[in-house]
Symmetry: C2
Subunit: 314 residues, 2 copies
């Protein structure tokens, strides 16, 4: 079994590719919950739902999130009620969160509800939230504001300059800890893959959950491989490259490898970044150069296959 | 100002007619909350929403409930999750209840949320739930089952024989009491109209809320007039006629008048029921014979105008 640490769109597409290469029950996704958000009392899990919809083949591919062909009548009603929301949710999408919230209210953990939802919708891949504790990715802007990641990402369209990222555990005095399922999944996996997701806000949030980073550092676990979300100095999607620059790093695949340096065994970079192979290998990290841009479902599968073959040789 | 006690479809159409005859701010609806139901944690108010949608002109006229042109993506998702519900809710309709539930959770009373919703959607008519207490209309079937009215009405399509109706106040040791707003509205009204709604489960539930029936009995309040929902021994909509028969009464407008005998000043019956005028008047209740079937918006207005003129002469 292989573990994949994943954020939203990029990670979801990689996992979708992986399902063409591995039987689904040999894939365990450890999902980011740092951008979970409340919407009129509903518990929304943007990243986990993107993964779920993508592997089920029901995602709106154009937007990358939400359900293909979903309607927005709920949003229209809320707008009519004077609630013009910046966070958008289709009607079917909303119902999934209604169901999740209802079951959480009945006492199920997020892990249990996520398993139930995935199983009922027919996802063969196991999807585990990194933690059942509440954890919130906060963006500190250059002007000193401290805002929810989704506010930075969706409402303000990444227009702010990022000064720092922090992970909050609202209403909780301790740091968020991983569930037993997550610890067991990492321990018993053949290896761990960090999907091409944002290293700060998606993978970063998962790594902030104790003891995930420590588990990856242990050499008795299998290989740990990451796929760079940065290609030729640009993020394939989202604000990762800008964040690197704003946080004082070079916006490059090398900087991503450096962020994971303490535990990474292998790094998958795009062919465009051939010149970075040597500097990455100088960090003691083996490199694979391949086409990492997932333009089609075939490309997703090819990247997953190459990554897996590479990881198995480490 | 006139008060209208109302259930769902029939009452809503009558109130819609009344808005052509009276300025909306001279109409206060006292709505039935006995068929309120929980749906995945959402607080649904079927009757109040039907009234609201009808006066706003956005109701699905064919079904009588829900929003015109609403979609059902949420229902599809819940079905995909294995939750095949007998209670149907369109996406926009669901969002209204999501908003209501969210605001109730923030500490607003049902009266306050209902006022807020009506005002935000632009309803000029004041809509008051009869009570802020939870009250539930229960149907006792011939086989001894004790079920929620909506289960009898929607799920079982009124197939059971009704042995009794009772009003439960779940989780509450006392009887449901009317809000101050309701008491004040009845006291300060020019008169009270009982809409052509089911006398047992809609009007009956409102009358079960203390001290509404007592207020109607007081002769120092204005006239109290009811419109018969039974025409020629048949209910225009819903199970009222069957209920009368199953509860051992004659399914006729006369039986409805008898149910209200202790406080009724005037009774509006359809022309088809001319022969019942004398028996009703023998109860000390004045009668108006008119066309009570609201086939068109003009017919709604005509019935409202006739009822109001009649009530004003009492």
């Amino acid at each position: 079994m292989w573990c994949v640490l994943s954020g939203g769109v990029g990670g979801a597409r990689f996992i979708d590719g992986l399902t063409s290469v591995l039987p689904p029950d040999e894939i365990t996704v450890i999902g980011n919950t740092g951008d979970d958000i409340e919407f009129f009392g509903l518990h929304i899990c943007p990243d986990i739902d993107i993964v779920l919809y993508t592997i089920l083949g029901v995602v709106d591919e154009e937007k990358g999130w939400g359900l293909k062909g979903d309607t927005f009548k709920a949003e229209s009603m809320l707008k009519a009620l004077g609630e013009d929301q910046w966070f958008h949710l289709g009607d079917g999408d909303l119902a999934l969160s209604l169901y999740r919230t209802f079951r959480l209210g009945q006492g199920l953990s997020l892990t249990e509800v996520t398993r139930e939802i995935a199983s009922r919708l027919g996802a063969g891949v196991k999807i585990l939230p990194a933690t059942d504790h509440r954890i919130e990715t906060r963006v500190i802007t250059a002007s000193g504001e401290d805002i929810h990641f989704e506010e930075y990402f969706v409402k303000r369209q990444c227009r702010d300059t990022v000064k720092a990222i922090r992970f909050d555990t609202p209403g909780c005095a301790v740091r968020a800890t991983a569930t037993g399922e997550v610890v067991e999944a990492i321990r018993s996996s053949e290896g761990v893959i960090l999907a091409p997701s944002n290293p700060f806000v998606s993978i970063g949030c998962i790594l902030a959950v104790e003891p995930i980073r420590d588990l990856l550092r242990r050499k008795d676990n299998g290989p740990v491989v990451a796929i760079s979300p940065i290609v030729g100095g640009e993020a394939i999607k989202g604000p990762a490259a800008r964040m690197l620059a704003e946080l004082g790093m070079e916006p490059s695949a090398l900087a991503v490898a450096q962020l994971y340096e303490d535990f990474l065994d292998g790094f998958v970079m795009d062919l465009k970044d051939e010149t970075l192979k040597e500097p990455v290998e100088r960090l003691g990290i083996r490199c694979l150069l391949t086409d990492t841009i997932m333009r089609s479902r075939d490309a997703r599968a090819a990247l997953a296959r190459a990554t897996l073959e590479f990881a198995r040789c480490l």
